[in-house]
């Protein structure tokens, strides 16, 4: 049934996107948390831009960039034999851009709160920088990592505008839940629209409750 294929596809996309995002965001956020570089504000602004730009801007540029008529898109075609637009890989790239701030920002916050003292203490005990990061900073930041992963996943599930512009609505490849809902409403198939929308409503409530539970220990509560 096509509804379930879109649900399964959405979960796959969110899963792949989350893994990629966590892998690239950890070093990026670590650098942002520690650096005094002059380009830091610019990099921060770049990663936060998907928060403020309408998805149509991202969708428009990706449509141009990933087109087989552009150098980037053409390179991908020679590499893999298929075009980036209207493919699952294209959606993964779009989603990584789109959900980037949701991964980087919680991680950066978590790394910053580890603090310099902890890292210096680790250094005086003879830990290398990598060792200190791995055995001190990362474990202390595990809530941030979890929050980043959960938010990336959830935000990718909720993606619509970008996918509408570069997806091409192919069942099993690019037809995600949000697109399925859009089509269902257009064709007056309110039963399917209710089913999927209700499902997303419950899903996002549960996910956000989990996130807030992870992070929302009261200010007055003891450690």
């Amino acid at each position: 049934m096509s509804l379930w294929s879109s649900v399964w596809l959405t979960l796959q996309l969110a899963g792949v996107t989350t893994v990629i995002l966590v892998v690239i965001s950890i070093p990026l956020a670590w650098w942002l948390a520690g650096t005094a570089s002059r380009i830091k504000p610019a990099v921060e602004a770049l990663t936060a831009m998907p928060l403020v730009l309408p998805p149509t801007v991202l969708g428009f540029y990706l449509l141009i960039l990933m087109s087989p008529a552009s150098p980037v898109g053409a390179f991908w075609v020679t590499l893999t034999g298929e075009s980036l637009t209207f493919s699952f890989s294209g959606l993964v790239i779009a989603s990584v851009f789109y959900s980037l701030p949701f991964a980087v920002q919680p991680l950066q916050g978590a790394f910053q709160s580890v603090g310099r003292g902890m890292m210096e203490a680790a250094a005086t005990l003879g830990a290398s920088r990598w060792d200190a990061f791995r055995s001190v900073a990362l474990p202390l930041s595990r809530r941030g990592v979890l929050t980043a992963a959960v938010l990336s996943f959830a935000h990718t599930v909720g993606e619509f505008g970008v996918v509408l512009m570069v997806g091409g609505n192919i069942p099993g490849q690019t037809r995600l839940i949000s697109i399925e809902i859009y089509s269902a409403v257009e064709t007056l198939d309110y039963a399917s629209a209710h089913l999927l929308s209700g499902g997303l409503l419950v899903f996002s409530f549960i996910v956000l409750t989990i996130v807030y539970r992870m992070n929302g220990r009261g200010v007055w509560a003891g450690a």
């Binding site: 087109s67 087989p68 637009t85 609505n169 192919i170």
Partner: protein
Amino acid sequence: MTFRILLLLSGLVATLSTAAQSEEATVAVATNFLSTARDISAAFMNETGHEVILVHGSTGKLYAQIVAGAPYDVFLSADADRPARLASGGFLVEGSPKPYAVGRLALVYNDASMTGSIQDILSRQDLRVAVADPAVAPYGRAARSVIETVRGSDWRNGIVLGESVAQAFAFVATGNADIGLVALSLAIEHADRIAFHEVPATFHETIRQDAALMIRREVSGAAHAFYEFLDLPTAVEIMTEAGYGVPP
């Protein structure tokens, strides 16, 4: 003091609303017909002095908006189905809807060196073909039946779906799809940047586009006049030039 401001305000509102009543019509138009509707309403405003406000969207979305109480006077649909539903729902003036145009398809492509008949091109399996989603768009349904006549029931290979005929066209225009089956009017409008073949009308069922005149609390003379204007030679000529057929 307050009273005087109120009086002033109510006077202003009254002036504005009478102006709106006698001079303005809000026309909801299916996106495929938008540029043609712009030309028609320009000619209409020129001849009558009335104002036309165009609102565009997909037929399905505009239909849902009308059912939800959107303040449109006239609805230029891309199909005959949605206006018929509005009529049976009691939204339309007696005698409405009526057909105003017949949609035509074109096969558009970027590569001007592409040769062969429409059947030859459509039967190639190596091309990416953009069409509007048949589930949503009447032009998509027609495009699907054209492809099915060439390829048989296994029509899906290489097909990408746009949410509207305009998006399907954009997929081709940006080089993301090799060919597309879209509204002839779009191909004619962008003839400077895209190559196209007209698809013979016999290749698919007629895409009849109906116009609906809505029942509104305040009857707008401009709305009636615009609805009638669609049948007049000026409008018919604009539509024919734009690539639409005249309804029988």
